[in-house]
Symmetry: C2
Subunit: 248 residues, 2 copies
Amino acid sequence: MRFEPVAPVRAYERVVEQIEQAVVSGALKPGERLPSERELMTQFGVGRSTVREALRVLQAAEMIRSRPGDPRGPEVLAASPVALHRSMHRLARADHVGLAELLQFRMILDGSAHLLAAELRTDDDLTGLDTALEAMREGVSHGYAEFSRADVAFHEVIARISRNPLLVVSEEVVRGVVLELIEDKLEHASNRTSLMRAWLSHHAEVLDAIRSADGAGAAHLAKQALYDNYAEYVPAGQRPLLTPLLRS
Amino acid sequence: MRFEPVAPVRAYERVVEQIEQAVVSGALKPGERLPSERELMTQFGVGRSTVREALRVLQAAEMIRSRPGDPRGPEVLAASPVALHRSMHRLARADHVGLAELLQFRMILDGSAHLLAAELRTDDDLTGLDTALEAMREGVSHGYAEFSRADVAFHEVIARISRNPLLVVSEEVVRGVVLELIEDKLEHASNRTSLMRAWLSHHAEVLDAIRSADGAGAAHLAKQALYDNYAEYVPAGQRPLLTPLLRS
DNA sequence: GTAGGTACACTGGTCTGACCAGTAGCCTGC
DNA sequence: GCAGGCTACTGGTCAGACCAGTGTACCTAC
C-alpha cells in the first residue's frame, strides 16, 4: 500500500473547477454570461477576492472575459488557439531552445504544411494563393514592411490549406520567435530589394509546385528556402542539425 | 493617419508583464525566488490584491509557484509543457481540434524525429535504443502497463537523439492528448498480447532503419505505424488528411 | 556537543468593506 | 421621438485584518 502526496486545495481552485466544468460540459455555452462577481461570491460562499482570483485564472486560459461596467457579467468565450499560442510561445523562448532548434522545427513544420497544401489544395485555394502572390509582387515597390506583411499572408494561406490549427499555430509561434531572435541582425540588412525579388521568385516556384500537386517538391523548396535565408545566423557547428531535413 | 483601438491596461497586467519580462530575459532564473507579496506590493506601488491576481496569472501559466509559509517567496519554475498540454487538451475537448488533426500533427512530428534520429544517432544512442527495445521485449510478459512504460521510454530515447526540445515536448504533448481522447476506446481492446507483439516487431524494424542511417525509411515506418494503429478511430471522411504524409 | 523541542517572524490564503470609473438602460424634458 | 442626464449596477483597486502554515534561530535537556 502506497500513499499519494496530498496538496492543499485552495478555495479559488474549487471555484475554477466548477466553472470550468460547466463550460466544458456545455452547460455554459460561448456568449453566455456568468453571474456578477458579487453574485458568484454568495453562490460559492467565498469572498470576492477568491472569486476574482478564480476569474483571473479562467481569463488567463481564454475561457472568459470580463469588462468593467457590463451589467450582464463576465462572458464565456469560445475555445480559441490564443492560449495555445501563448503557452507555446513561452516554451519556445525558453533558454534551452536556440536558433538552430527553432529553425529545425520550422523547417519541419513549413515543409509539412507545404506538402499537405500541395496535396489537399482546391481550386479556390489556388486562386487565394494567386492573389496573395500578386499582393507580394505589388509590395516590392511599397517598401519592406508592406512586402513583409504580404509574405506573412502568403504563408498563412498555405498553413490554412493544410486545415490543421495545430500546424498553423506552431508555425506562427516559431516564425515569430525566430524573428525576435534575429531582428537586430535583420535591421541593417543591405540591398533589401534584391532580397525581396529573390523571395518573390521563390514563392512563385512554390506556387507552381502546389499547383501541380507536387507535395515533395513544394516541401523541399520551402525547407531549402528557409535554410538559405537563415542558416547564416546559425552557428556553423550546429548547421548539420538542419541539413538532414533537406534530403528528405 | 489611422488610430489604433485602445484597451484599458489593468494594473495587474502591468505587473504580469514586468515579472514575465524578468523571467524570459533571464534576469530571474528557475529556482530563484520572487519577493514576497507584501514586498512586491511596495515595489510595484499597488495593493496586495493586484499583486495576487498577477501572481495567479503567472501561476496558471506554470511560470511560478507559491507555497504558504515559505519565507523565501514564490519560486520561479523552469519552462514546462504542462500549460501547453492544458491548452491543447482544451482545444481538443472543444472540437476545434479533432483526432484527425492531432494524428496528422503527430505523424509529422514523429516522422521528423525518426528521420533526424537516423541521421544524427551516435553509437551510444544505438546502445541506448537496444536496451530500450530489450526492456520492451521483457515488458510483454509483465502486463500492458509495464510494456506501455517501456514503449514510452523508447520514444523518449528517439526524441532525445533528435536533440530538439521543441520536437520532444510537442510530441509528448500531442501523444498525451491523443491517448486521453481515445483511452475509453482502448480500455476494452481485445487480445492485447498480439498487439504488443506487433508493436514490438515494428520497433525492431525502426531500430534497424536507424542503425543503417536510413532516415527516410525510419520516418516512413513511424508514420505508417501511427496510421495503422490509430486511423481506425478517425472518421473515414478525414483519413485522406493523413494519407499524403505516408507518401513522402 | 548534539538532538530535540519551542517561539517567533514571516509567508500565502481568505475575508470584509470601501471607493472609483465605467457601462447600460431607463427616464425625464423637450 | 429623441437627446440628455440619472441611476443602479459592473469590474478594478485598495486597505486592513485574521488565520493556518512554514522555516529558522534559539534554547533546552541530555
